[in-house]
């Protein structure tokens, strides 16, 4: 091995710091001892919560000192999502509470939209303003012209509000900007989606295949833990990535694929497994539909065929396919999570599903288990009115398999267009920074400028709050109750979130906000409980528990009603697909007018002097949500641009140098980004962590730090099957002269 060694201290805090100056010596010796002792006290006062820093929702404990101040958060040992171990973001959740840049009081816009001129308002003023506008919009355009964009727990209450008013338009960017194609593909194949937390049985797998999924950098807690367990047990890991990811460093095989060619590799793997007769014959025969079609379909998609496309050596393709087959059925070809890449993402995810199906891993130990969700009674309320219009009518013949409202669909249908009837007039945005979440920022801003009402609910000032008419400051998850967490897992389990302390400033929980609005809009019947804790206690009593009990335990685990975590040998399983079988040949996708089996189509390649812009995650951040968190910016306060040394040499780039990026459409990054020259990336692409480059000045800690990839994603490759927004078809070049800002070519 060539001996080029690079040594990086990831956490550089305090490095090179000089000994504290005179000011530091104010404490006398015994005072220093006392300060030190207080720091080492073992805290005992604790309340349960589940985390809101990401969607994994780990259950844990919030510890306070004797003065009631929040000091630390740790995992709940009984929690299935975290097993007592929080990730860095969850541990750093205290920073979300202490962040001095938090929204503090309701705000109402005073000048034109986007100028960020607000006046402080009382809650009554804010609610009256919103209610008045909603009444006007409902009367003039219909309640269907109101939409909610949401990410996080508070969305539930605003969703109830909108549905009570008569709008079905509840959109989550976590679908069409993230995992949507995966859910549609698995639904089409197995009749069930993957959902969250993923039903992957990594703990017991013998072979884990990661294709574009970077577990360890995405800190999806339970999965990271189980991957570590699998490493301990000697599982084989195969990682496909143009970048030497953290997971690649733990892998027996790393396949440094040419970006945008993953589907060819997947088809070649299917080819090898069928031609070498490595597939699970009894399973395929009993459970699947369309095997003969599939065999014909992939006949010519040999590793040699794929080599020219993917640059992966055919012997490696065969060897890795055999590794999977040897491990089967305890093998997982991981479906990933953020899969909106190239616009044919549903088809790529179909190939992943098909590969799993012929290996027989669905419903098998070490493959994919059957998750169980606990069902909690919902308080009774009148039926929701039937909406008269839907966003779908605005997109005839498009996105037929989208099984939820598309955030980008609502956004597109908001931009005035003579061909559309239901132009959205009012948006409520809860806990999602749409400016950085939706690609094509110009389009998003155009939509926003045509609205009659934009309400933003958040804990922090974000780019999106700057565009709002009314900003409602939510208290953090550490200061509020929310609905019980009931999410799927190996066993049904519920978790409680309760306030560890009173809300800081003039902030309030979303439940209260939605209910106050419901009062003013005449739909209070949909919120029968005045206080959420009464609702929780009522719900818990239906299942033989109580709020008192949950306050002590935080989580409660139940047994599965049946011993059916995996398929029993020879079990007759009915799949919720048109044929009732696992569809290798998809009837539903065919009916929608698309290829029933995935085909590889080449994607556009970067022009000379440009590099494909890839983006991903750092384990210590959840996008915008943590960008300003004092504890987490301490670990990473800007992103950097990964550049291959060969490329760096050609351009004369050095590590630590700041450059601007410009994309194929001439869009310039708003801020410069620091170059990281590293062997860990291919020469045809560059990489950065998503969630940086904020231009919201009220985020004092992260303003202008690093570059925003969303800023550079002007070309969107929309998946015609379900409307996902493919974001990996953008190419960037380097602008090294920071002063003149001139491009090289």
């Amino acid at each position: 091995m060539a001996t080029r060694r690079q040594f990086i201290r990831i956490t550089t805090m305090g490095a090179g710091a000089v000994i504290a100056g005179a000011a530091g010596y104010k404490l006398l010796g015994n005072e220093r001892n006392a300060a030190h002792k207080a720091a080492e006290a073992v805290l005992t006062g604790r309340t349960p919560t589940y985390c809101e820093i990401c969607f994994w929702k780990c259950a844990g404990w919030v510890y306070r000192d004797e003065n009631g101040a929040i000091k630390k958060i740790t995992g709940n040992n009984e929690d299935l999502n975290c097993n007592g171990r929080f990730c860095p973001r969850g541990t750093g959740g205290v920073g979300m509470y202490y962040d001095e840049d938090r929204l503090r009081t309701p705000l109402i816009r005073t000048e034109e939209r986007g100028k960020q001129s607000f006046r402080e308002a009382t809650w009554d003023e804010a609610f009256d303003y919103i209610a008045e506008k909603i009444k006007v919009i409902s009367a003039e355009h219909g309640p269907e012209c109101l939409a909610l964009f949401t990410h996080g727990s508070g969305g539930k209450y605003f969703s109830t509000l909108l549905r009570a008013l008569g709008s079905p338009h509840i959109a989550a960017p976590s679908y069409a900007q993230c995992r949507g194609p995966r859910e549609v593909a698995f639904q089409a194949t197995f009749g069930e989606a993957i959902e969250s937390p993923e039903r992957t049985d990594i703990r017991d797998t013998k072979c884990l295949v990661l294709i574009g999924s970077h577990i360890g950098e995405n800190m999806h807690n339970g999965q990271v833990q189980e991957m570590s367990d699998a490493i301990d047990k000697g599982a084989t890991i195969i990682t496909v990535d143009p970048r030497y990811s953290t997971a690649a460093g733990k892998s027996k095989y790393w396949l440094p694929i040419k970006p945008a060619t993953d589907l060819a590799l997947l088809l070649a793997w299917i080819n090898v497994i069928i031609t070498e007769e490595l597939y699970d014959k009894p399973y395929v025969e009993k459970y699947t539909y369309g095997f003969e079609y599939l065999r014909d379909h992939v006949k010519n998609m040999t590793p040699e065929w794929a080599y020219g496309i993917t640059t992966i050596d055919p012997t490696v393709i065969r060897e890795t396919a055999r590794e999977m087959a040897n491990a089967a059925p305890a093998v997982i070809v991981h479906p990933g999570r953020h899969v909106t890449w190239y616009g044919d993402d549903t088809q790529r995810m179909r190939a992943v599903a098909i590969l799993n199906a012929i290996l027989g891993s669905w419903g098998r130990r070490g493959g994919f288990y059957r998750p169980e969700t606990f069902s909690i009674a919902e308080p009774e309320h009148p039926p929701f009115p039937t909406p008269k219009r839907s966003w779908r009518t605005e997109f005839p013949d498009l996105y037929k398999l989208a099984d939820t409202v598309l955030a980008n669909g609502v956004c597109d249908a908001t931009v005035p267009d003579p061909s559309r009837h239901c132009q959205f007039q009012g948006w409520i945005v809860n806990g999602t920074n749409l400016i950085e979440t939706l690609p094509n920022q110009e389009n998003t801003l155009k939509a926003i400028q045509s609205l009659q009402l934009l309400v933003v609910i958040d804990t922090m000032p974000m780019e999106i709050t700057g565009w709002a008419d009314v900003v409602l400051p939510e208290c953090t998850y550490l200061e509020r109750y929310d609905d019980l967490r009931v999410g799927p897992h190996r066993k049904p389990q519920i978790a409680l979130r309760m306030p560890a302390t009173e809300p800081l400033y003039n902030t309030k929980p979303a439940f209260w906000m939605a209910r106050e609005l419901a009062k003013r809009l005449g739909v209070i019947d949909y919120f029968p409980f005045e206080k959420i804790e009464d609702q929780l206690d009522w719900q818990l009593k239906q299942i033989g528990s109580s709020l008192e009990e949950m306050k002590k335990t935080g989580v409660k685990t139940f047994e599965r009603p049946y011993e059916d975590l995996y398929f029993a040998p020879g079990e007759n399983v009915e799949f919720y697909t048109p044929s009732g079988k696992i569809e290798l040949y998809s009837l539903s996708i065919e009916e929608a007018g698309f290829d029933p089996m995935p085909k590889y189509t080449p994607h556009e390649e970067p022009p000379e002097g440009y590099y494909r812009l890839n983006y991903g995650r750092a384990p210590m951040h959840t996008f915008s949500r943590t960008a300003n968190n004092p504890n987490l910016t301490d670990l990473m306060d800007e992103n950097s641009l990964w550049v291959n040394p060969g490329v760096a040499k050609e351009w004369g780039l050095t590590s630590g140098q700041y450059i601007y990026l410009e994309n194929q459409d001439g869009k310039r990054s708003e801020f410069p980004i620091k170059v990281r020259v590293t062997e860990r990336i291919r020469w045809d692409s560059v990489y950065m962590v998503h969630g940086f480059g904020h231009d919201q000045k009220k985020l004092k800690r992260c303003y202008g730090k690093g570059a925003s990839d969303t800023n550079l994603i002007t070309k969107v490759l929309v998946d015609p099957i379900m409307g996902g927004t493919g974001m990996r078809g953008n190419f960037v070049t380097f602008i090294t002269d920071l002063k003149s800002g001139e491009a090289r070519s």
Partner: protein, 177 residues
């Protein structure tokens, strides 16, 4: 009794949870840390290896920081843990300069601070906070004099190394490789 820690570089993903958990457990001020993560890259694309490891004070048996401390603030406590008595520390910085692992920092309150192996937790039968929190369970802590401790067991089974052994400090932080 001889406390030691082993970090499994095959499992560490470099997430830095150990760093935040230490900060919130030990009131380490923002901007400073008692533990940190290192990434070492070897090779050229595509023949590469990356080692990730969580580092901290090595609680050396032959600790230069203790030897050079002019006031006796730096000392070796029970179980071989290297500690600083803040009241005795004059903040001269000699220990910071002498540590080959760069494990010490000047606390803004005027004394030198460093990893204590969370002795306050260990005394209550708990593990250091970095060990307890690690999502990959890549850290093992315990008493090397007890052959059944986690750390003794894992060091018996696995190949391991220490950092800068040539400095002769006899470090007690081991890395499984």
């Amino acid at each position: 009794m001889r406390y030691a820690m082993a970090v499994d570089t095959k499992k560490c993903v470099g997430c830095s949870d150990c760093v935040v958990a230490c900060q919130t457990e030990n009131n380490v001020p923002i901007g400073f840390c008692r533990d940190w993560v290192v990434e070492v890259i070897d090779g050229t694309y595509p023949q590469l290896e990356v080692e990730l490891r969580s580092e901290r004070c090595n609680h050396c048996e032959n600790a230069p920081c203790v030897r050079c401390c002019p006031t006796g603030a730096s000392h070796i406590a029970e179980g071989g843990i290297v500690l600083v008595k803040p009241g005795k520390c004059i903040g001269c910085g000699a220990c910071i300069a002498s540590c080959p692992y760069d494990a010490r920092f000047p606390h803004p309150k005027g004394y030198v601070d460093k990893c204590t192996f969370c002795i306050h937790r260990v005394k209550q039968g708990m593990k250091p906070s970095c060990v307890s929190v690690c999502p990959t369970k890549c850290m093992y802590f315990g008493d090397l004099d007890d052959p059944n401790s986690d750390v003794s067991q894992v060091l018996k089974k696995r190949k391991h190394k220490t950092l800068i052994p040539e400095a002769g400090t006899l470090p007690q932080l081991y890395f499984l490789i």
